[in-house]
């Protein structure tokens, strides 16, 4: 996996014509962004954040997508448990 990552970073850096350090920086930003979305969604679904606070944190569109996913998963689990 580490070798894969190194090779991919090298290839991305070459393809974009940027230093590998910049690729790492962008990857870190994206990773943290995803983890922040997960944390915010968890807190929102657990009732620890209001909807407006969650929107302020991750944006309306991403929160709506997460709400739609949660609704689908909830429907599926309830169906599976009772059908």
């Amino acid at each position: 996996m580490a070798a894969d990552l190194t090779e991919r970073v090298q290839e991305i850096a070459e393809a974009r014509g940027v230093p590998e350090s910049e690729v790492f920086e962008q990857a870190l930003e994206r990773g943290v962004e995803d983890m922040w979305l997960d944390l915010t969604t968890t807190r929102y679904l657990n009732g620890e954040l209001s909807r407006s606070e969650a929107v302020e944190s991750v944006g309306e569109e991403r929160l709506r997508r997460a709400e739609r996913e949660a609704e689908a998963v909830e429907e599926d689990v309830r169906w599976g448990s009772t059908a």
């Binding site: 949660a70 689990v77 169906w79 599976g80 448990s81």
Partner: protein, 159 residues
């Protein structure tokens, strides 16, 4: 008696976590011909045996395709509507189209929950498979949402 029509998504995603036997928990599973062709063209997931399912022929409503559904999703929805069956899909747009059409719809997570509900999986096995769907497959769903689903599964099992 559960009769369901599936598009390619659940079969691909369950195949990616080596759980293609789980749809057998459905009493009668129908696969549209276009979905079967789609699976074959993409390299059918290991373990997919189309002898265990009924293959149906149907065209989808053109408006569904215009709304963003692919041919397989539209065909599966058409067959499900025609037979008053459940649609199995992991695509949110297909779920919305099914709901608008009055067709009950579920996805891979529902199949796992059903297998658990019917005693084919323990609660822990079902939870692990739900997490694997999020981490090991091409299904897009956030970690938080999967954990929320696992929490509901455990509540329903305990309740």
């Amino acid at each position: 008696m559960i009769v369901a029509v599936t598009d390619a998504g659940p079969l691909i995603h369950l195949g990616e976590i080596d759980s293609l036997e789980l749809p057998e928990v459905i009493d009668e599973l129908v696969v549209p011909e276009s979905v079967r062709r789609e699976l074959e063209a993409g390299g059918a997931p290991g373990g997919f045996d189309d002898r265990s399912v009924e293959v149906a022929t149907a065209g989808g409503d053109e408006s569904w395709v215009e709304a963003g559904l692919d041919a397989g999703e539209a065909a599966a929805l058409a067959v499900a509507a025609d037979r008053d069956a459940i649609l199995l899909t992991d695509d949110l747009a297909a779920r919305d189209a099914a709901t608008e059409t009055g067709v009950e719809v579920h996805g891979s997570i529902g199949i796992i929950a059903l297998a658990s509900g019917r005693g084919g999986l323990t609660e822990d096995e079902a939870a692990q498979l739900m997490r694997s769907l999020q981490t090991d497959t091409s299904l897009f769903v956030t970690d938080a949402v999967v954990e929320h689903g696992i929490e509901i599964l455990r509540e329903d099992s305990d309740g």
